[in-house]
Symmetry: C2
Subunit: 732 residues, 2 copies
Amino acid sequence: MTKSQALQSNLDVDYVISYRFTKTDKAKAAAQFEKLCHALANVGLQTEARNGDNHSVLLFVRVASDEHLFGEVYRSRVRDWMHGVRSAAPDKETRAALEAEPLYEAERLRIIYQLITNPVYEGGAGITPKEGEWENVESIFALHDHAYNKDWIKKWSSSYFLKTEDLDDIRNRLGEKIAFYFAFTQSYFTFLIPAAGFGTFAWLFFGHFSPIYGLFSALWCIIFTEYWKHQEGDLSVRWGVKGVSRIDTKRRNFQHEKTVTDPVTGEQVGFFPAQKRYQRQLLQIPFAIAATLMLGTVIATCFGIEVFISEVYNGPLKSALVFIPTGILTTVNPILNTILTQFATRLTKFENYETASAFEYALTQKIFVLNFIMSYLGIFLTAFVYVPFGTVIVPYLDVFNVAVRPFAEDEKQLHLHTTTGTSSWAINPDRLRKQVIYFTVTAQVVNLGMELIVPYLKRRGFAKYKEIQSERAAKNGGAAPSAAANDPPEDAAFLERVRKEAELDVYDVTADLREMVVQFGYLSLFSVVWPLTAVSFLVNNWIELRADAMKICVEMQRPIPWRADTIGPWLDSLSFLTWLGSLTTSALVYMFYGDGNGPDGKPSNIQLWALLLTVFFSEHIFILVRTAVRIAVSKMDSPGQQKERRERFLIRKQFFEENLSKLQKYPTLTDGGEEITRKSLEEDARQSSLRETTPETRFWSRQRGWRESASVGKTLIERAEIGASPERKKEL
Amino acid sequence: MTKSQALQSNLDVDYVISYRFTKTDKAKAAAQFEKLCHALANVGLQTEARNGDNHSVLLFVRVASDEHLFGEVYRSRVRDWMHGVRSAAPDKETRAALEAEPLYEAERLRIIYQLITNPVYEGGAGITPKEGEWENVESIFALHDHAYNKDWIKKWSSSYFLKTEDLDDIRNRLGEKIAFYFAFTQSYFTFLIPAAGFGTFAWLFFGHFSPIYGLFSALWCIIFTEYWKHQEGDLSVRWGVKGVSRIDTKRRNFQHEKTVTDPVTGEQVGFFPAQKRYQRQLLQIPFAIAATLMLGTVIATCFGIEVFISEVYNGPLKSALVFIPTGILTTVNPILNTILTQFATRLTKFENYETASAFEYALTQKIFVLNFIMSYLGIFLTAFVYVPFGTVIVPYLDVFNVAVRPFAEDEKQLHLHTTTGTSSWAINPDRLRKQVIYFTVTAQVVNLGMELIVPYLKRRGFAKYKEIQSERAAKNGGAAPSAAANDPPEDAAFLERVRKEAELDVYDVTADLREMVVQFGYLSLFSVVWPLTAVSFLVNNWIELRADAMKICVEMQRPIPWRADTIGPWLDSLSFLTWLGSLTTSALVYMFYGDGNGPDGKPSNIQLWALLLTVFFSEHIFILVRTAVRIAVSKMDSPGQQKERRERFLIRKQFFEENLSKLQKYPTLTDGGEEITRKSLEEDARQSSLRETTPETRFWSRQRGWRESASVGKTLIERAEIGASPERKKEL
């Protein structure tokens, strides 16, 4: 098997389990490995063990036979139907059900993954990578489909727009969760085109801080957010996953305080008092304050130093020293971020959520707060502190002269020039724009580069390190046998490839999603400062979409194809940013529109009541417009919704036909109409004297059949007419 | 049959159709009457015709046999299940299904009413009272159950609180829609108790416009609104109607522009372009403006005149003249209201909604706007125009001197006293409070009286008029025969009672609901002016609840028991009023708190920025608190929700058991474990040379069974350990 062949075929392998035993003693590791094989065999999985790199065994797993899988698929589909994800119950004949609706690759992989990882009482093998007794199971991953990946990259890099079919393709291969990320980014990209067009126009003709652009930007954000919600629903129907977020999976780490009988199912379930969780959630407040203070202090300090150096300091090395704060930020911020994110994760774990979705939601909220501070605080400081209060604050920035004192030649360089009085210093009107440009262009490019280049370098460096080490080991004589030493020659190329894939990182789609949401934030909050923001993002995202595809294919393990029917908690973040944008945009427009210079650092020039009135009105107009857009969007019909309704209709129709046809048509009433003859009256009288009569039967037996009622009514009508006419005539 | 007996029994009558033929000529009327009887007989209804008052025939209707009804009930229940209202499909055996879950009275009456009124293609008789060919059908009503009514009134008037069982009772008799009104009012009443308590406390100790009371009031409104939403959901589950609002009934008057093929059902359906409806909806804007202007002008003029007379005018008859504006308001407003409501109805019809619920929603919105202006504009004028801008505006009120000029003795009496300069006139600080007290006490009492007494007087007057007329007719010789002339003696008392019930008005629950929502508005918007508001409402609503029950029993025809799962569009009005309350309360507190006098008519005394800041912050705190309350309430478990979940769980369990038990347990894997002997290896080699081998089969055939994988893995682990150890030692 040549190298290119090895890339073409996955040899029917469904999953590879990387079992690493560096830390455990060998007897224990071997025993646990046996247990692993047994557990997998128990759920109908076939295994093959091969040697892995650096004290690891690669265990290849595949489904022993289709029959094994069918049961699982059927169970999964029935569960979906029960939760309302599927509108029709699957056919009761398993094989027929699967033939009617064949598995797609992502569904197959998801079900097998669940088979491996689900707890034993839910019918899985209960393998939990890196946790508990399965600590040695380093990872469980599927093998890349290199032929498909190559086609994918090729196709995307040669087309301007992605079609829905392209997204379908991703969904079939990588699952709905990742497909939703690409769908969102693509949708965002499409919306950026008009924004970029209008932005350019505004930049050319409307001048700075144009209220027209501000209105456009707010409207654009609203329409995009609402439209995406609509499209999300549509896609979830198209992909048959609408409602999967309702299927709650219990968190394995949920710790119950006591066991209670579930009032619904009657089962014994773990219980954790909500009261106690609320108390723990209160810790979020000190956490948020601490995080804001820590990140805020770092950012504000750097901001202060930067302002001081660039606008007060006048000594040597000024052009170099001005980069000090950026340097501090780029080193301290990621560290702080990592620490705070870890802390947030621990806090969320401590809050002890019962379901995975509640956990994810709580964690995302915290991470959004951290990102919000890190991404936007700097600009907020410039816009709402530096510019309006500049002349008041800058003199106090002298405290930062410690940072550059060593470089200064004399004291004068460290203080404001007072040659012409205190007014010599003036606000730098370009600072705000430059900062926005930095965040929306430079930072984006750097980010993109980091995303692609850092993992590549890491990978290369790691390979180099291993090479050097094995060379050294070989020189020292005690050469550890290469992992490939005992490979059967025909599998060697394939196993080499698998070993490489085992070393790769795990792809985390939420990180990419977060990046997009943060980017959207710049647009909604600050694009009025520099209307070309959308142009920069348009270019960036065209590349981003392709770079992410590349990243998944080359630099990451093949991701587990999870399902989703939404981009999840980030949707709330989008709405929040849109809303906040209506406040900041109107405030910025109010403060800076006009002469193009805006406030000059003297707070007295800003009419607080006018600013508040502007913000107040713009916010309420925003809410009104959003409601209108929501209604309009909700009225939009879409293929997905039609499909859903059609399915429901057909099921309903079928049920009606099946069941109501069994109902006998009720007997038609005797068509009345026997003439009221003397004979029939006598007959009636005789009948009624024979039967025991009640007032009811007497009342209802006076007229038989509708014809009799009609004729009695007719008589009444005619008689009434006679009686009434003389009176009527009199009244006329 | 005595009179009291006639009240006890309804003689098995399900519905009475009042057929009036005053306007039509008798031949046509008789023909149409025959058609009516035939149509009813066709759907399995038995009929009896009797003479009615004043050129009308009473047609008594009952279901011919239970078999006829069973089919209808079953169909209705299947439809409910299809729309998700019922979680389980009804038993396929009709009789068994009905025995398992017997009909309640309201359900029976609703189904029969639908049988009479539903269009023919939906299986009904297609009788549409007062419309089209059924113009002569004046009304279709069920007969009161007087025994039950008597018990009901007695029970309620002797108990302080209503229990859920009392509400269940109403639901069983009068249907869910009316039951929801009573549930809402009862829930509101219960919430008023703490509000009244705290209000009294605040009134006694906190002084005027207390911010503490303001906070309490806003919080109370939020909790009540959110709690009601929760309770509504709970009751809808309890009553098995959750989701009925999703069952859309087509409006009969919907006019389609063209017929298109429904993409969902494939049926031909009427189509009206949404574009065109949007255009028509735009008419709402001029309508709202016109209504605001008309009502606003009337209210503002009366307000101006009143202020002029009471605070400027100083001539004779002052104490009498001061009632002029109230007189104008009480005459002009109801007239304007009636005209505008009619106009709103016509506008809504013109908007041509497809479903009854969309129509109702659109109409309710318009009616709410009208009510909002009429109820609150006066107080708004006092609080936000008269008090802050009084000294600026009052001099201009001189224009109103035309209204009292005839009564004045000299010019001086028509102008502000300028003896001590312009400052002689001062804001009347009591005006606002007096106005609020007027609306929350006097107006409520008057309203209650009107609701009970006016219909009573109307009924008595009408009876008197008829009596006089028949006496006059008798004197003139041409006496019209009394309607009762030909009654069979034993039915006479019963028929007399039915004729009386036929004359009664139709009960409209939305009017009562609107009254409650408007009342809630005073509490949320203005109760900070007079904290005893809740006390007044508490007393009022205790009586209101009983008076409404009385009204339904005595003064109205028995209402058709419609279903509902919510109080409908009024819920939005509640939320709106709660939100607006957060604005007005904070503004009122800001403006008037402190010395207890508030602004003195000079707008310069109010800091606009501070007012705006107060409102801005209070609104956002409101939104935050509402979100928190929403989350807290959504976490509350309730019997209804538990019931729903339990039902769903049981169905799920049953389905799983039924279907998954059929799935054969997949074959267990051959338990591996054959020792790898020379023989078995040779056997394998032979086998593989016999078969055509692919890389896949070769790869997967190296290890047979999990035991072999495990042992290979074990070997790998042991070997790796040996290879690695020297290197490790070196590294240490």
